[in-house]
């Protein structure tokens, strides 16, 4: 299997993301407490856990929004995430979808994807940028993939909630990231939209390394299949294993599933 960014990332040890003893404190509150986690190349990993378990803080650490108070976070073996800014991490190949869909509402769907294209993203390049045929084809392909090809010229602000979520996923895909972080991708979606999202994730399985944070147990059970699921609790890993193993774990039932 050949994944984007392999060479620049150096994933020769098999893992694309390592979090080692990561702690984050906010005014004495420990959002993350010596968290250890690693994700293999091409893996689809679901992260579950009750509110306040530190799921979003973990994503913030990985994407450069929050600096770890202690511990280290590595993307491949070359990128020390604790020293990089948000845009550097994005350029290195980590894409993030927020919990609430965040797209450029006054731009059309097409323009949203155009801005996200994997290309030179500095001021001068943006000033003189023109789309070439290859980039147009790439945008068209992603539009079909996220099932928004008939919405290309509508302002993104007019899309339904589910369509905005897909557009945001499309904006990640078009950057060809090696690792995709999805924060509650089906929150607020209708059953039909949830099903389509699961199909979309299935298409991405194996092509990218993916980390999904999700509350919806049915959805997690559906997409995790035989892949590992990690349960977070109070800022560290409580359990890790296949979905059925995790669901059978006494401690997990106590803190999360049983309630």
């Amino acid at each position: 299997m050949r994944l984007a960014h392999d060479d620049a990332l150096d994933t020769s040890h098999g893992a694309i993301l390592y979090l080692e003893d990561v702690s984050v404190s906010f005014d004495g509150f420990r959002a993350l407490n010596r968290l250890n986690l690693d994700i293999s190349v091409g893996e689809l990993r679901c992260i579950i856990g009750p509110n306040g378990a530190g799921k979003t803080t973990m994503m913030d650490v990985i994407t450069g929004k929050t600096r770890p108070t202690a511990g280290s976070a590595w993307f491949g073996q070359r990128h020390d995430l604790a020293t990089m800014s948000e845009h550097q991490i994005a350029r290195a190949g980590i894409g993030r979808k927020f919990q609430r869909p965040t797209v450029f509402e006054s731009h059309t769907v097409f323009e949203n994807l155009e801005l996200a294209l994997k290309t030179d993203k500095r001021v001068r390049a943006a000033l003189f940028a023109r789309l070439d045929g290859e980039q147009r084809d790439r945008i068209d392909a992603v539009l079909r993939q996220i099932r928004l090809d008939d919405q290309a010229w509508r302002p993104a602000g007019l899309l339904s909630h589910g369509q905005k979520q897909w557009l945001e996923i499309g904006m990640l895909l078009i950057q060809e990231p090696a690792l995709i972080l999805l924060d509650e991708p089906v929150a607020g979606m209708s059953d039909f939209e949830t099903e389509r999202t699961a199909e979309l994730l299935d298409e991405l399985r194996g092509k990218h390394s993916i980390m999904v944070v999700e509350h919806d147990m049915g959805f997690v059970a559906h997409i995790a299949r035989q892949d590992k699921v990690t349960v977070l609790h109070e800022g560290s890993v409580l359990a890790e294993g296949r979905m059925d193993e995790v669901q059978a774990d006494e401690r997990v039932i106590e803190v999360y599933l049983g309630r």
């Binding site: 800014s85 845009h87 797209v103 943006a126």
Partner: protein, 375 residues
């Protein structure tokens, strides 16, 4: 698929623009060709007034770039305007030569303060072109340095606005001092000539008017090109969803800094065009009220449209000219009322009243209307 924004202006906008520019360019000719008293004569007063409005329109255009498109509300743009005006004013003061009240080579205010020689920062200001470089550099460098630290520290929204206002206010206090070397509260005035020509002569006025018109149209085309480029769409991304922009690999710092500095430079050029036509520049031009008035021009015309900024500058200043003559005490109340009414009932300004744009497809428009009705 082709991108819908190919031409700089849509066809009707282009015709309207050309028509307006032709009419505006005729004004100085009517001033020169027909003698005073003739029906077609345009007075020097009218010419200077329209010229002044065009300078304001250029400043409004600059503000729209940062506020309307990038979402950065500046309450200190009058500072950049005044700095451009002062930079040009230094040349105009030097060009008075020994024709001042005291017959000295030094500007009158320096003689009055009993200074024996020019301060070091007045060096080379007898050169028109050196001062033109200052017009661009002084507001540009100040904006760049200020912007770098503010944007790097991720100061945003109302905090940024307040700091810009504090900066403008601090500079105003600085310029009010006689020791600062810019004429204290009287500022610069009594200009005699520009590049060897009598500054009040009809021909000189006509040329200054045409130069202002040309720069205004040039700046409009530049801004239009800028906002239609991918960079323009990134700027709107800063306004609408800055975190999203960072997480797809853009560093907002440099985009903000670019547009902020460009805006300050355009504003400085507007000030430089203003000072010879109005004949005076003093620190009260930097007052917070002036910066706020600029914001109102843009809001009234319609922000994020460029044309709206120009329209707003002309409308509000036209009203102001009439109001301050008819009811001088009521102007500030009227201005405040105008701002409240526009904010409440015309959030998109005067341009929000026009017909929907052609670019949106009929289905998109129907959906939009349905959404607005539902809201």
């Amino acid at each position: 698929m082709t991108h819908p924004t190919q031409a700089l202006f849509s066809r009707p906008a282009r015709y309207l623009l050309v028509a307006l520019v032709v009419v505006a360019a005729l004004l100085p000719l009517l001033h020169l060709v027909f003698p005073p008293g003739h029906t077609l004569h345009i007075s020097g007063y009218t010419l200077a007034l329209v010229g002044k409005f065009m300078c304001y329109a250029l400043a409004a255009l600059a503000l729209d770039l940062v506020w309307g498109y990038t979402g950065i509300l500046s309450l200190g743009h009058a500072l950049f305007f005044a700095l451009g005006a002062y930079a040009h004013g230094m040349y105009l003061m030097r060009a008075i030569g020994r024709d001042g009240v005291y017959g000295s080579a030094l500007p009158d205010f320096m003689v009055f303060l009993d200074w024996q020689e020019l301060p070091w920062f007045w060096a080379f200001t007898d050169s028109f072109w050196y001062c033109m470089v200052l017009v661009v550099l002084v507001p540009g460098v100040l904006a760049f340095v200020f912007g770098y630290f503010a944007f790097r520290s991720r100061i945003k929204g109302v905090y940024f606005s307040i700091i810009t206002q504090a900066l403008a206010y601090a500079c105003m206090l600085l310029f009010f001092r006689n020791d600062t070397g810019f004429g204290g509260n009287n500022g610069f005035t009594d200009f005699r000539r520009i590049l060897g020509h009598d500054i009040t002569a009809p021909g000189t006025r006509a040329v200054m008017f045409l130069v202002t018109l040309a720069l205004l149209v040039g700046a409009l085309c530049l801004c239009r090109w800028l906002v239609a480029s991918r960079l323009g769409r990134v700027l709107q991304g800063v306004r609408d969803a800055e975190p999203r922009l960072m997480f797809i690999g853009y560093d907002p710092l440099w985009f903000k800094l670019f547009v902020w500095t460009l805006s300050a430079v355009l504003c400085g050029i507007a000030g430089a065009l203003y000072v010879p036509q109005v004949g005076i520049i003093n620190p009260s031009e930097m007052s917070p009220a002036n910066s706020i008035e600029m914001v109102i021009w843009v809001a009234v015309g319609g922000r994020g449209t460029l044309i709206g900024a120009i329209l707003g500058a002309f409308t509000v200043n036209g009203l102001k000219s009439w109001f301050t003559a008819a009811f001088p005490d009521l102007w500030l109340f009227a201005l405040g009322m105008l701002f409240i009414l526009v904010t409440l009932f015309m959030p998109k300004g005067m341009l929000g009243l026009r017909l929907p744009r052609r670019r949106a497809s009929p289905t998109a428009l129907r959906e939009k209307q349905a959404l607005e009705e539902a809201a």
